[in-house]
């Protein structure tokens, strides 16, 4: 394995896992579920994605690489949706924003509204 | 014996059963003439056995048979000596009369056909019993008699008393049968012999074997229950709930004598020991006295006769127990005599019941003019029963005293017993034969009369027989008494007694008996009331005891079952795991199958430990989860941890599957939870928690110990090596695991997908089939089905 690739891989590994760690940290530190979602859905996805691509590169075989890319694409596609669903659900059920929150323009009928699905 | 008789004997033995099958049909065809038709069956049987008399008289035995269950050394083989033959003749002979009598007695009864087939079945069983040679064949027919008697006693099944009596008979005699079975198997074990004939001929001294007492007790258990010995006599009087033909046939003439037959059969093998000569006379004597005393108490003719039957059986047992030649002769003669007069008297009682509409001896009288023929038969039988000449009973009684009268206090005592017993039987006999017929005329029904021939033929014939047999006693002795006594005694015996008895002690004793009898007869009423008061004061009898036994048994079972089957899952689980702990730890410690102390694995990387730690955390979180979702999510955590562990240890397929499955489990859990208001929080009290905790910890420890022990063994890799070697070249697969799944061990997977499939369908049916109203369990009943 040539040095360049090795360096790339190493960097991606560190960066990716670092991002993941930060996201996890955000999970701990941020005040309410909505803010935490920001951390998870962004840093989390990106982190693991990077590491996955690193694996693809390191393998040096196009098939694996394409697969890892496809995988990442899939994450990027799903992450916002899950975040959205979770946010919508928690809001609908009535989990309130943290007290730090400044505005809430969500129509009142949305809060505590029981979705029929 | 030549081939034809051989096969005919078989046919004759099966004939009653065959007839039993067709009896209902025949009854439908021949209506009230069926009796005449069916009577042919016992007649044929009688004739067949009658032809054996010459051989038997020559002192030979008729044997033969067919293979039945060679694999278990059981043959359908017969062994006919004097004893068997006499019984066979009594059974078939009286059988003829009973069949006819039934025709008269149960005329118009809707289930007459069924009755016939029961009676015939019983006859077949009884015949099989007395001729059977191999133990198990004997036992089969023994139990068959119990079963048929159960059916006959319960024939009038609409009345609770009959049902009770039937069950009682079945329980007592059937239970006794189990003793007998054990006894016979024990004999088989000790001697290795499976046939009576061999047992009798063999020179094995059972009496010396250490199991003798056991065998004796077991065999007596069988005999005493069947022959209604005190204190197990109570079922017999209750059996009088059966139609009178049954009482006359089963419960006086034949079945109840099966026990006596057994004792007589076994006398040569088990007899002639102190135990035998103490136990039998004691039980027999007691039964004799108790039976007569209870008989005196009764006013129902059938009951009076029933109790005297009990006492007669006691007398027979007592005599058999003495085992002197004379005693045995007496037993033989009395057995024959009793079958005749008691059978007759029962039929008489039945006839009176049938005509006058009651069996209460105080409610009927003066029937002599209305029913002269029956009266004749009655008085004759009574005389025979009382042991007066010129009837066969007289010979029997003479021989009894001759047999009992020996020097010594023991015989003397029993002589007295016999005198009292005979005296009271004298009373009963005449009470039944005279009271209904003499005195001023009274009867619940309008002008009773002798009725159809079928109704009086039986008693008359039997009465006549008791006379003839007495007159031609020589012939009888030659063909019946001698061979039978010989068979019982196990050595040649000759009977001499005739209507002209030798002047001696026996005669004197009979005179005493008669005097006592006459006196007693005059005071019958007084005695009855006395007995009544006595019984009142006692207030308890084995009969009531039976009810208490059954009730107690049921109550006890109920209580016990409530304990072992409390209907609560958590108790079931607890027990299960406690048993598990025992099953693992006890052998482990007892047989020292504990592992060596394992060394801690030092080569574990940090992240491996972290993952294991996460698994543990997840597990604990599941336990301590405050709400269901936490529990579920924690479940997911430990699942992921397991998957990662699989991956770390080189099982990608596993971790792949594990990830999928865990997530799906969590998902469906969530989907279901959506609808449930459940909380997984532990509501267990601290106490139970501690108990459960310790149970689970103990079980887990046991598993771990075993696992350590196993992993410390050298491992045989052969299979895996094989798979690894041939996976690619032959099975064309690089992923060994998958190759194993679909090729090497494809059959497992095949079954596994069947499981998945069924689970899917089962869940579907669970979700889809819903009953609108929640219905209670019994709703499985079709009745409720209708309501829905």
């Amino acid at each position: 394995m040539n040095g360049f690739v090795a360096i790339i891989v190493a960097i991606m590994l560190i960066v990716g896992s670092a991002f993941t760690l930060i996201a996890a940290l955000g999970l701990i530190r941020l005040p309410d579920v909505y803010t935490r979602m920001h951390a998870a859905s962004k840093a989390g996805t990106l982190g693991s994605g990077v590491v996955l691509i690193a694996l693809g590169i390191q393998s040096g075989d196009p098939g694996t690489l394409t697969r890892s890319l496809a995988g990442v694409a899939f994450f990027i596609l799903t992450a916002p949706i899950s975040a959205h669903l979770l946010a919508k659900a928690s809001y609908a059920v009535g989990y309130r924003l943290s007290d730090l929150s400044v505005v809430d323009e969500m129509p009142s009928n949305a809060r505590g509204e029981k979705s029929n699905t | 014996m030549d081939a034809t008789t051989h096969s005919t004997t078989l046919i004759v033995l099966l004939l009653p059963f065959i007839a039993a099958v067709f009896a209902p049909a025949l009854t439908r065809i021949f209506k009230h003439n069926t009796a005449w038709v069916l009577a042919i069956v016992p007649a044929v049987v009688f004739w067949h056995f009658f032809t054996f008399l010459p051989e038997i008289e020559r002192g030979e035995v008729v044997t033969g048979g067919y293979q039945w269950i060679p694999a278990y050394r059981v043959n359908f083989s017969w062994f006919i000596d004097g004893l068997s033959l006499t019984f066979a003749l009594l059974i078939s002979g009286i059988g003829v009369l009973i069949v006819m009598y039934s025709g008269g007695y149960l005329k118009k009864h809707p289930q007459l056909g069924r009755f016939y087939s029961f009676i015939l079945m019983f006859m077949g069983s009884m015949l099989g019993l007395v001729v059977a040679d191999s133990f198990l064949m004997f036992f089969v027919f023994w139990e068959l008699t119990s079963i048929t008697s159960f059916l006959l006693i319960g024939f009038d099944h609409k009345r609770e008393v009959s049902r009770r009596a039937a069950l009682q008979a079945l329980v007592v005699t059937g239970g006794g049968g189990l003793f007998l079975l054990a006894g016979m198997l024990l004999i088989w074990n000790v001697t290795g012999i499976t046939e009576l004939s061999l047992l009798l001929r063999a020179d094995v001294a059972l009496v010396d074997s250490p199991y003798y007492i056991a065998i004796l007790v077991l065999v007596l258990g069988g005999a005493f229950t069947k022959s209604a010995q005190f204190p197990l006599h109570f079922w017999l009087p209750n059996a009088m709930e059966a139609p009178t033909p049954v009482s006359a046939y089963l419960h006086s003439a034949t079945m109840v004598k099966a026990g006596v037959y057994l004792l007589m059969r076994m006398n040569p093998v088990l007899g002639d020991t102190a135990a035998w000569e103490t136990v039998l006379p004691l039980f027999g004597g007691t039964t004799l006295i108790v039976g007569t005393l209870l008989a005196v108490r009764q006013t129902d003719m059938k009951l009076m006769l029933a109790y005297t039957t009990v006492s007669s059986l006691g007398l027979l047992v007592m005599l058999t127990g003495f085992g002197y030649e004379k005693a045995i002769e007496a037993a033989v003669l009395y057995l024959v005599a009793h079958s005749m007069f008691k059978g007759a008297l029962f039929m008489v009682a039945g006839a009176i019941d049938h005509e006058a509409g009651t069996r209460d001896i105080n409610k009927v009288g003066g029937l002599i003019t209305a029913m002269p023929i029956v009266f004749g038969a009655a008085i004759a039988s009574a005389i025979s029963m009382a042991g007066l000449p010129p009837f066969f009973g007289f010979l029997a009684k003479e021989e009894i005293y001759a047999g009992l009268w020996h020097p010594g206090s023991w015989p003397l005592f029993f002589t007295l017993v016999a005198i009292v017993g005979n005296g009271l039987m004298f009373v009963i006999g005449f009470a039944v034969a005279l009271k209904p017929f003499l005195g001023e005329k009274k009867s619940p029904t309008e002008h009773p009369h002798d009725g159809p021939v079928l109704l009086w033929l039986g008693p008359v014939v039997l009465a006549a027989l008791s006379l003839l047999t007495a007159v031609f006693s020589g012939v009888v002795h030659r063909y019946i008494s001698d061979p039978m006594s010989t068979a019982v005694a196990g050595e040649p015996v000759e009977v001499y007694i005739s209507l002209i008895p030798p002047i001696g002690v026996p005669l004197l004793l009979s005179v005493i008996t008669i005097v006592f009898g006459v006196v007693a007869y005059r005071n019958l009423e007084r005695m009855r009331s006395a007995m009544a008061t006595v019984l009142e004061t006692i207030g308890w009898g084995p009969d009531r005891g039976f009810d208490q036994f059954i009730r107690g048994l049921v109550r006890m079972s109920f209580w016990f079952t409530q304990i072992v089957q409390p209907g609560r899952l958590e108790i079931y689980m607890k027990t299960t795991f406690i048993v598990l702990a025992l099953c693992l730890l006890v052998p482990m410690f007892v047989y020292d199958e504990l592992p060596a102390m394992p060394r801690f694995p030092h080569d574990m990387a940090l992240y491996e430990m972290v993952i294991m730690a996460i698994a543990v955390v997840g597990l604990l979180a599941v336990i301590y989860a405050k709400n269901r979702l936490t529990a579920i999510v924690s479940l997911g955590i430990q699942g992921f941890a397991v998957a990662l562990i699989f991956m770390l240890f080189g099982a990608p397929d596993l971790s792949f599957t594990q990830f999928m499955v865990e997530t799906l489990s969590v998902v469906i859990l969530a989907l279901v939870m959506t609808r449930l208001r459940l909380t997984p929080t532990d509501h267990r009290s601290v106490g139970t928690r501690v108990i459960d905790m310790s149970i689970s910890v103990v079980c887990a420890t046991a598993f771990v110990l075993l696992l350590l022990n196993v992993t410390q063994l050298p491992f045989d890799q052969t299979l895996s090596d094989f798979f690894t070697r041939y996976s690619v070249p032959i099975a064309n697969g690089g992923n060994i695991v998958n190759v194993i799944l679909v090729d090497f061990r494809g059959t497992d997977t095949w079954g596994e997908i069947a499981v998945v499939l069924v689970a899917g369908l089962a869940i579907l049916s669970l979700m889809r089939i819903r009953l609108r109203p929640a219905v209670p369990i019994a709703s499985n009943d079709p009745v409720e089905e209708e309501r829905r």
Partner: protein
């Protein structure tokens, strides 16, 4: 839960996942995967579809009743095992046929058939379970 965003994206997700599942199924013999995992993946695809767009579209999409599919899968698996009777070899013996197409060699085998049977059973049963639960919790 029919939110516009989810509903719009779900079908594409589903199709992607199903493709992936078939891929996993087919390469299972040489690398991790196989009928069972493939089936699970496909099933979860339909589960997502169901959650996003409701049960009935899934049912219509599948056309057959899931349990029917599962039954067919089992029959297929049994068939795969039974084929060996014609070769006078025991049950479940792997038979390989090589069919040349486009100058390439297309490899058909009973084990593959069997694995496909597994795939369908798992797909059918799990989907049926998921849909049943989904329906229940919807009414």
């Amino acid at each position: 839960m029919r939110t516009l965003i989810f509903r719009t994206v779900a079908p594409y997700l589903t199709s992607l996942i199903v493709v992936f599942s078939v891929f996993v199924l087919l390469r299972g013999h040489n690398e991790p995967g196989g009928g069972f995992i493939g089936g699970l993946i496909a099933a979860s695809a339909f589960a997502i579809y169901g959650i996003a767009c409701g049960v009935s579209p899934v049912r219509r999409a599948l056309y057959f009743h899931p349990m029917g599919i599962a039954g067919a899968g089992l029959t297929l698996g049994s068939l795969a095992g039974l084929l060996s009777v014609f070769e006078r070899v025991p049950f479940m013996t792997g038979l390989w046929y090589y069919v040349p197409i486009f100058g390439q060699e297309l490899v058909l085998s009973t084990v593959l058939l069997f694995d496909i049977g597994v795939y369908f059973v798992v797909l059918g049963s799990i989907t049926s379970i998921a849909l049943a639960l989904e329906e229940r919790s919807n009414d």
